[in-house]
Symmetry: C2
Subunit: 347 residues, 2 copies
Amino acid sequence: MYQDQQPGDDRHERQPTIVDVANRAGVAIGTVSRHLNGQSVRMSNRDQIERAIAELGYRRNSTAVAMKTDTSHIVGFMVPSLGEFHAGILEQLTRKMRLNGRAVLSFCHDMKPHLVREGLEFFASHRVDAVVMDGEDVVRADLLPYIEKGLVVALYDNDVEGIPVDRVFVDNRRASARAVDHLIDLGHRRVATIRGNERDYAARERLAGFRQACDARGVVVPPEYVVHGNWGEIGGYFGIRALMELAEPPTAIFSANYNMTIGALTWAQENGVVLPRDLSLVSFDDVPAFKLHNPGITAVEQPIERLADTLSSVLDARLADPAVMGRREIKVECNIILRGSTGPVQQ
Amino acid sequence: MYQDQQPGDDRHERQPTIVDVANRAGVAIGTVSRHLNGQSVRMSNRDQIERAIAELGYRRNSTAVAMKTDTSHIVGFMVPSLGEFHAGILEQLTRKMRLNGRAVLSFCHDMKPHLVREGLEFFASHRVDAVVMDGEDVVRADLLPYIEKGLVVALYDNDVEGIPVDRVFVDNRRASARAVDHLIDLGHRRVATIRGNERDYAARERLAGFRQACDARGVVVPPEYVVHGNWGEIGGYFGIRALMELAEPPTAIFSANYNMTIGALTWAQENGVVLPRDLSLVSFDDVPAFKLHNPGITAVEQPIERLADTLSSVLDARLADPAVMGRREIKVECNIILRGSTGPVQQ
DNA sequence: GTGAAAGCGCTAACAG
DNA sequence: CTGTTAGCGCTTTCAC
């Protein structure tokens, strides 16, 4: 049934182990292990070991290490999907983690509860050192038991309240307020927003920022100036339409994310609304397409690299000593990139 | 120095193991293991085991399994960076792999040889089932030893010739030829290209497609109509400039990737070149920004989902039986998305 | 079917 | 410093 095990067979010939190295170097495996882990070893032995390793082509079996030490040097990354923002975070996270010898295992849950469970289960059973995730609402119920079992998790982008984890967010509220301030500075008084899904923390914060800026400057916002875009492109498309078909349409719009902005732009283009003459538009999230667009889109830029940096240092600290410090919540600031889509109010 | 180990301490209380389950269920660990692996077990035992698992909150330790079986159910994914294309592949790959209980571990090598070595080393030592990677030229030298040691790898996007691995590409040549055909159909005779880095297989193929289409239609391509864009945005920017400042500038350009197209578009915008009146432009790679651009950019769409699908079935087959089948090279077709950036030649 | 037992490759005591 | 040894949690013989 099975092929004969010819010597020199194409199948894996057993990889050399620490035992082989020890034998060849004429020392005990303990010594090899110590050397491998950077502890000091008599110099002559060190050379012997190095030599044996090179000759054998020995490569440490990290699964064995993981099993023994209960740390895998892998961190899990769980997101709904890998659009520009999350992909950017993943890329930077990968870079940062690599400095501590860790790699990132990714999982997309597509907003489906059974998939978040499956992913969490995978992570936990593979003993990832930690998991970083977008705090979608769908994860709340499932997350808690893992955390109680000792899983280290860090949330970003979105919050799930009431669970004891570290958090790294952008200062959604402040950045939104500043973006809206910019609109008001330009003389706009009829300013509207296309908002994200209300069950998301980020959406609530961005809306709060919008309101805060308007209130502070005495700009009143009629209820019909707040439309739901539900984070998506079509939401943006119909959102702007609802706004522009009002008897008294806004002269400026704050769109709470990239996708909705794309939708809004599409509608504007189709309907001959020219920016910034007929309408000023500012978007949360900056993406390459906005720079290229004519006119360029004024946008709130999330500092992806800093987010990933922060995430990774929070995790490093937490992993170095899981118990010592209280839960942290860090907010990082955004930049506002001024481009041509916003201009003085006309009239 | 250390905290007292209070019972109920916040630190990990030892997770239940298969032994605990066996004890609680009153069977031997072998029986539990068999049940866990889907082999048949006496029904009464099955129930006992299930029960014990539930009560204990037992979770299989995949690192132990990995060590024992020498398969981790993890596949490595190595790319230079996570731009739109690679991120898309990763996302789909994640989805596909999940169906077979695998997850994807990613690593960005930033085109630095020492990082590709580090990544490969990480993958190998963690005993990934396979690695899928963009066949960048930088990996060639390092890859071979791993393959000889039995590492399963699949290449996509770009080739590294002369190594025994599976390959999944887009039909770069054919797709390019079709895109250029479209230009010629529109009456263009002065057609130029901004090409990618010549050490890359994809760049060579796309150029070959360009040439092939021109030759077939009797369109002669003067040497100065082939400019090097080196895959990047600035390459595209200066590439189009070189072309348009020619005494006899082209009336149509085929840009060999997304980044160079962005650069070209930027220059065109800055210099009052309006598409498609003054110039027709077709790009390899389709990205969201192209749909939004005014006019929309005619582009070759790489079928990301199909690529990932194919990659994952090739790997499934290979992993099911590493020896049985010869190396495979699969080419998948692209779609050409016609938009407003290409039009009949003017004059 | 099942239980007992032998490891997988490694780390971390432990005694020297 | 070093060698020896006891496991980590699991799969997989091997008898029964």
